[in-house]
């Protein structure tokens, strides 16, 4: 276990050091994050107005959902996108062999090898939005409540990671899967809005098949103190289920892996 922590520290230390070489990219990233949040808020504001609500959510309540979406999007660009997009490259160029030969768990290596600090401001902005929206919506959280929020956010992150990893793992067969993650991203964009705003069939899809609801809406409901306990358990169950499925699928995929040159 200690070996894993030590490796992790080295991985991220080198990743941050190499990212700092490209300072202009950091500036561009910051501008992009700012603009993108501004645009999302503008789009959200179109649904509101005097006496209008979106699926029963007020403007400030919807801001919390938007905030959680921003946090998870930031997480995706700090952690998921840099790591999981390189799986495809490893498979195509045959360098996956080197990863598999290392005396360390291959999923651990592939999932945590690098980190891109450019996404961190987005996470911070998202959290600020959650806090501000929660404050304006009159939510008051006990320390226990905060713990539940963090737990649900963690579950959401785990679901997001598992979905992404499942798709990335299919590259063992199909090699080029980064456009499959594009489809995933398009669907995940629905998490910008509370799930109650969608028609019933989509709500079902976003709760059980592609559990977008647990990424943003459920944590926001916890903040507002109106989450139902069964939903929380379902979320945790799905998170564990998706993670186990992703892990099993990875082992299954590896059995079908034939190196690039053979």
């Amino acid at each position: 276990m200690r070996r894993y922590f030590k490796s992790l520290r080295r991985f991220w230390g080198t990743a941050v050091a190499s990212q700092l070489e490209y300072q202009l990219n950091v500036v561009i990233e910051l501008v992009a994050v700012g603009l993108s949040l501004l645009g999302s808020l503008f789009m959200l504001s179109l649904f509101f107005g005097p006496g209008r609500a979106l699926g029963g959510w007020s403007w400030h309540e919807a801001l919390i959902v938007q905030g959680f979406y921003t946090v998870l999007d930031g997480m995706a660009s700090t952690w998921l996108r840099p790591n999981l997009s390189s799986i495809v490259t490893h498979v195509r160029e045959g360098t996956l062999d080197f990863v598999l030969l290392k005396p360390i768990d291959s999923q651990f290596w592939l999932s945590l090898r690098t980190i891109s600090p450019a996404g961190l401001p987005e996470i911070a902005l998202g959290l600020l939005l959650v806090i501000w929206g929660g404050h304006q919506a009159g939510a008051s959280l006990s320390p226990g409540g905060i713990a539940v929020v963090l737990l649900m956010l963690l579950a959401g992150g785990l679901i997001l990671y598992s979905l992404w990893f499942l798709i990335a793992a299919t590259s063992i067969w199909f090699v080029k899967t980064w456009n499959a993650t594009e489809v995933l991203r398009a669907v995940l964009a629905s998490g910008r809005y509370p799930v109650a705003a969608y028609p019933a069939p989509l709500r079902l899809l976003f709760t059980l098949v592609i559990p977008v609801a647990f990424l943003t809406t459920v944590p926001a409901e916890v903040v507002l103190g109106r989450a139902s306990t069964p939903m929380l358990w379902l979320g945790l169950g799905l998170a564990v289920g998706f993670f186990v499925a992703a892990r099993q699928f990875w082992f299954y995929a590896l059995r079908h892996y034939t190196s690039a040159s053979s």
């Binding site: 490209y22 561009i28 603009l35 503008f42 509101f48 398009a186 964009a189 028609p199 989509l202």
Partner: protein, 265 residues
């Protein structure tokens, strides 16, 4: 006669090979087509929202608008900067530059080939849409169809020129695709892909109309959906953007090529 290195035979060969090339990647292109579902997600949101009446589109008008927006996007999506960046970084661009054909034509041809490959997938998604929403079904009149096709084609040209402009900055900086991200964000929010422009407050709408973005989705989609729209002004502004961008692209491209020192050479 050749225009920028083009004649009829070259056009035929280029389009033929690029289409065959794209056909090989049809599974991938199907996924790309599927990743354009965002307008449908937005449609389902707008349909259930209190703000729907403010859009100025009654009944099935909104369904048709978003379906049209999806279709326009399918046939005006531009990805040349990614192909170009890869070609420039791997040095594949060098032989293209030696040929008498302007390299940009090559990218135009591969986009056209890709659009042709995309056509059946877009048709299937449209058919599924009509199965779910049968009362939204409509067939645009022949005139509207031709006009919408023309508007989409002009939208594609504007998007292509905009991206070529950024791509030619690749000659100066290796990571110009980061700039493309900055261009995509205003496109996403101001083009009408997520909400028709009539939903915007007047101030933002006026602002948006000074950018090329509404003419990339909103205008062609309105023409296709047979929504009331000022045809003359729309086409005039589309042409104006093309006339403005084309010389700029050629200028930047020429200056860039002069700077270009081939990778790996």
């Amino acid at each position: 006669m050749r225009i920028f290195g083009l004649n009829r035979k070259i056009i035929r060969v280029l389009l033929g090979t690029e289409y065959a090339h794209m056909l090989e990647y049809r599974a991938e292109i199907a996924l790309w087509a599927l990743s354009g579902v965002l307008p449908f997600i937005m449609l389902s949101l707008w349909n259930g929202s209190d703000a729907r009446d403010a859009l100025g589109m009654d009944g099935v008008g909104l369904d048709r608008y978003f379906l049209s927006a999806f279709l326009v996007r399918q046939f005006s999506v531009v990805w040349m900067i990614y192909a170009f960046e890869e070609d420039a970084l791997t040095g594949r661009l060098s032989p293209y530059l030696l040929q008498p054909l302007h390299p940009l034509w090559r990218y135009v041809a591969s986009h056209l080939g890709e659009q042709l490959t995309r056509l059946p997938f877009a048709a299937v998604i449209t058919a599924i849409f009509f199965l779910i929403q049968p009362n939204a079904f409509w067939l645009p009149s022949f005139g509207h169809f031709v006009l919408a096709w023309l508007a989409t084609w002009m939208a594609f040209s504007i998007a292509f020129l905009l991206q070529s402009l950024i791509a030619s900055l690749c000659f100066w900086s290796e990571k110009a695709s980061a700039l493309e991200r900055l261009l995509f964000i205003p496109f996403l929010f101001l083009s009408g892909l997520l909400a028709p422009l009539t939903a915007f407050p007047p101030f933002v709408r006026t602002l948006a109309q000074w950018t090329p973005f509404p003419y990339l989705i909103d205008f062609p989609a309105r023409v296709l959906a047979e929504q009331p729209v000022d045809l003359l002004a729309g086409f005039a502004i589309q042409s104006a953007w093309i006339v403005l961008l084309l010389p700029l692209v050629l200028l930047f491209w020429r200056a860039g090529v002069r700077r270009y020192s081939a990778m790996g050479a």
